[in-house]
């Protein structure tokens, strides 16, 4: 009666575009295939958050319709990506004493320790978006990934807890629900991008994924196979255009165009003294603008974004973990020479990320803009994987989530 291969749809409501990716999950082989993509220009979003629900709704509808048409499926539920300057993350440690006579750690003890770790001082109005398990400590011995069956007196677990303002998160969910779509889960965009781009090996070695969106820059650091740090800076490609518009005194649309045509994250010697001629709509020259100025404005902004990320990682003591390097995605990753700037600031190899851990539309997998949507599909597939592994046990929502966070 029902299709045995579940369809998973990742929906990212970005500042410059709304993107929906459709994935087909095969439970038999546990493989995921991207079969459709839809995108539409986004008009109702600023800095990653919806500011005009009606416009946003129209754009989401257009993107979903396009994806449905391409994949030839009907979309009922989506995995929704969220971002915004209100999202905060912290690492927290939960402790649970083992009281049983034989000192053996059971699954219940693990759940209790996780429950304790989730107790963080949240600001009022905030809810937890993600609580991601890191490592366990048994009697102070660290680096344990599964303590069930071990002996010990004191079990500790480190969790990465991400939280955000409930109302702002609800805004996005409400808009999607207004389109008669169910929201299966909400996922931080930066985490979704990391899921799409990183291989297990890179996660073990330590890798930083920076998603340079139009409204926000989301970043996630994996080390030793677990999420160690996530963050959002409400600065993105829009700021680059805005800086150019202010600095060179051109309209915003023209600034956007110049950013794409002539932009660079580095001020190279060759560009010094060169000029760009802006033309009117009828083709007559209007103004000439210094290429050096354009690139200086862009380079300073890009550098600053990376510096803030580096600064936050430095404060968390994690800069030395970037052994697999820095992976860039999002529209901002297309700025020429941006990897060189990242390499200089993070002192680690930097590259454009490619979603190569999946099969499907090759053209989509190669594009840095689609990494988040593809990652959302991948996140959704974990849930299906977890369900197919334990089909008979009524685990409930909490159980499912804890399985989800096992290791991804």
């Amino acid at each position: 009666m029902f299709d045995q291969t579940p369809i998973i749809v990742g929906l990212e409501i970005g500042t410059s575009k709304v993107c929906a990716a459709v994935g087909e999950f095969d439970p038999e082989s546990s493989s995921l295939k991207i079969i459709g993509l839809g995108q539409a220009c986004s008009r109702g979003v600023r800095k990653g958050e919806i500011v005009d629900p009606e416009l946003a709704e129209e754009d989401i509808r257009a993107a979903i319709a396009q994806a449905e048409q391409m994949a030839d499926v009907e979309v009922r539920t989506v995995v929704l990506g969220v971002t915004g300057g209100h999202l905060r993350a912290q690492n927290n440690r939960g402790v649970h004493p083992i009281v049983s006579a034989d000192r053996e750690i059971t699954e219940e003890d693990v759940q209790d320790a996780i429950k304790n770790a989730k107790v963080v001082n949240l600001p009022p109005q905030d809810v937890i978006v993600h609580a991601i398990r890191q490592h366990f400590f048994v009697d102070g011995q660290g680096g344990i990934s599964n303590p069930v069956g071990m002996l010990g007196a004191r079990l500790e677990v480190e969790m990465h807890v991400m939280h955000g303002n409930q109302n702002r998160l609800q805004n996005a969910i409400r808009v999607v629900k207004g389109l008669q779509l169910d929201v299966e889960d909400i996922v931080f965009n930066g985490l979704a991008s990391a899921l799409a781009l990183l291989t297990n090996e890179a996660k073990e070695l330590g890798a930083l994924v920076i998603d340079l969106g139009a409204g926000t820059t989301d970043f996630t650091l994996y080390a030793q196979g677990v999420v160690r740090h996530t963050g959002v800076i409400a600065v993105g490609g829009d700021h680059l255009s805005n800086d150019i518009a202010i600095g060179l005194r051109v309209p915003l649309s023209r600034a956007e165009q110049m950013k794409i045509e002539y932009g660079s994250a580095l001020v190279e010697d060759e560009c010094r003294g060169k000029t760009i001629t802006i033309k009117n709509s009828d083709g007559t020259p209007l103004r000439t603008i210094s290429l050096e100025n354009l690139r200086t404005i862009m380079a300073l902004r890009v550098e600053e974004i990376f510096q803030i990320v580096a600064q936050q990682l430095h404060e968390a003591g994690l800069l030395d973990y970037l052994r697999a390097g820095v992976f860039l995605c999002g529209g901002g990753a297309r700025i020429p020479n941006i990897t060189k700037v990242a390499e200089r600031i993070f002192q680690a190899p930097a590259q454009l990320g490619r979603a190569n851990a999946m099969s499907g539309l090759i053209s989509a997998l190669d594009q840095p803009e689609f990494a988040t949507a593809i990652g959302l599909v991948k996140f959704g597939s974990f849930k299906h994987k977890a369900n197919t592994h334990k089909p008979l046990l009524p685990t409930g929502l909490k159980g499912t989530i804890s399985q989800l966070f096992r290791r991804f």
Binding site: G85, V235, A245, A310, G317, D320, I345, Q347
Partner: protein
């Protein structure tokens, strides 16, 4: 204890360990204010050398040596480069073996002169320790990054640098504290640190901290040292001292100790200082930093009477993490032109991030109760007429006003993105003061 008593006490100690001859170079207005603090605490004014641009000095520093720089820079940004000024500073280095350089790196002259004085002293073969403050975040990122570059230079040539980022003081500054009051707190804390280190060098007892061990903990170009001083008296003073040290918000509930890679603990007390007290202090502190070397010093300082003074330096080597931050803002920060600072590469180490690292690490203990309650009030009222009053115009010269009237373009009406006091919606080139030609 009044000032005269303290002065006698300090003289007494100096006489006891005659081989330790310290010369304290107080640079700029903040340096002068800190020197004033120290003299109030009983330091001999003749040990001080004051280097500042204008000749106006507090009366307490009459006996100090003065090197007054020309009011206007002679060449380049420095005005310091004159051979005469240099010779006068070299002359002040005669006959001493320790040099303390005290400055607030937010000031233009301070951040140029402090590393150069340290370099001169180092070249002359002295042991050099730096005591500096970094500006508040609200003083602007340009000043921050320049201060950090200067700090790095100072670290490169000094044997140890204790740095207090003023931003850390927010936790200690009550809401309605006037501007000069905030800087006063910073001055008192730096004076405490100087006194603590000085005591460690001069008060030699049965358990000494060797100089090489001290330099190992607080020295090195990538080192960040958090420091704290707790001064207590009465019953259970060992426990109270540790509690006071750890309860302090600037030590982040002992977080600085946990992150440290080596710790120096100095326990000083009057003749009644008991071995059990030393043991108790070190035991309690070691619990917070279990797996790292702790170097303990303990000595009897008769002038302390029934007080117990606990001084802690927690060093952390940032190594590559800090080098990784040797970033790009060199474009926006012009490196000062030191004739003697041969390692020009040090100038490249312009570290906005390292500055942040500093801010996180260098935690300071608030002044002891004796100072905060009785002495502080007295000192505040005395100083409010001088040092701080001269500081206010410096802070007000911050060129922020120009930025405020600039339109934020499409982000005019959206919620501002504020990061460390900066509005990120404003174009970066404006905030960094880069001119477009």
């Amino acid at each position: 204890m009044n000032t005269q008593d303290k002065h006698n006490a300090v003289q007494h100690q100096t006489g006891r360990s005659a081989r330790v001859q310290v010369r304290i170079f107080a640079i700029g207005r903040a340096g002068v204010a800190i020197a004033g603090e120290l003299i109030n605490q009983g330091f001999d004014p003749s040990n001080f050398v004051v280097i500042c641009r204008d000749g106006a000095l507090p009366t307490g520093l009459d006996a100090a040596q003065k090197v007054v720089l020309p009011a206007q820079p002679i060449q380049g940004a420095l005005g310091w480069d004159s051979a005469e000024a240099r010779d006068r500073i070299k002359a002040q280095l005669e006959g001493v073996n320790f040099v303390f350089v005290v400055a607030a790196l937010g000031g233009v002259s301070s951040r140029e002169i402090a590393p150069a004085v340290a370099r001169l002293a180092k070249d002359a073969g002295h042991i050099v320790f730096g005591f500096v403050t970094l500006p508040f975040d609200c003083e602007g990122s340009l000043r921050q990054s320049k201060a950090c570059a200067a700090l790095q230079l100072l670290k490169n040539c000094a044997d140890g640098v204790l740095c207090l980022p003023n931003q850390r003081l927010w936790k200690l500054i009550p809401e309605n504290t006037p501007l000069h009051g905030a800087f006063k707190i910073s001055d008192v804390l730096v004076a405490e640190a100087i006194h603590g280190l000085w005591r460690m060098l001069t008060c030699k007892g049965l358990i000494d901290v060797h100089l090489t061990e001290l330099c190992m903990v607080i020295g090195g170009p990538h080192n960040q040292t958090a420091f704290g001083v707790a001064d207590v008296s009465g019953q259970n003073r060992a426990r109270k001292a540790v509690e006071k040290l750890l309860a302090n918000p600037t030590l982040d509930s002992g977080q600085a100790l946990r992150q440290a890679e080596a710790v120096v603990v100095g326990v000083f007390g009057g003749p009644d200082l008991a071995m059990a007290e030393v043991n108790s202090v070190v035991e309690q502190l070691t619990r917070h930093c279990p797996n790292i070397p702790v170097i303990t010093g303990a000595a009897v300082d008769e002038s302390l009477g029934s007080r117990l003074v606990l001084t802690v330096f927690a060093g952390r080597n940032l190594g590559r993490a800090e080098v990784a931050m040797t970033t790009q803002t060199t474009g926006s920060v012009s490196a000062p032109n030191f004739a003697d600072a041969s390692d020009a590469t040090g100038l490249e180490l312009d570290l906005i991030q390292s500055d942040q690292g500093q801010r996180r690490q260098a935690r300071i203990i608030p002044p002891p109760p004796e100072l905060t309650q009785d002495k502080m009030r007295e000192l505040l009222s005395r100083q409010s007429q001088k040092g701080p009053a001269t500081k206010i115009p410096v802070k007000l010269r911050q060129g922020q006003l120009k930025l405020e009237i600039v339109s934020k373009g499409r982000f005019d009406k959206s919620e501002p993105t504020i990061y460390k006091g900066e509005d990120l919606d404003l174009p970066t080139y404006m905030r960094r003061g880069v001119r477009l030609n």
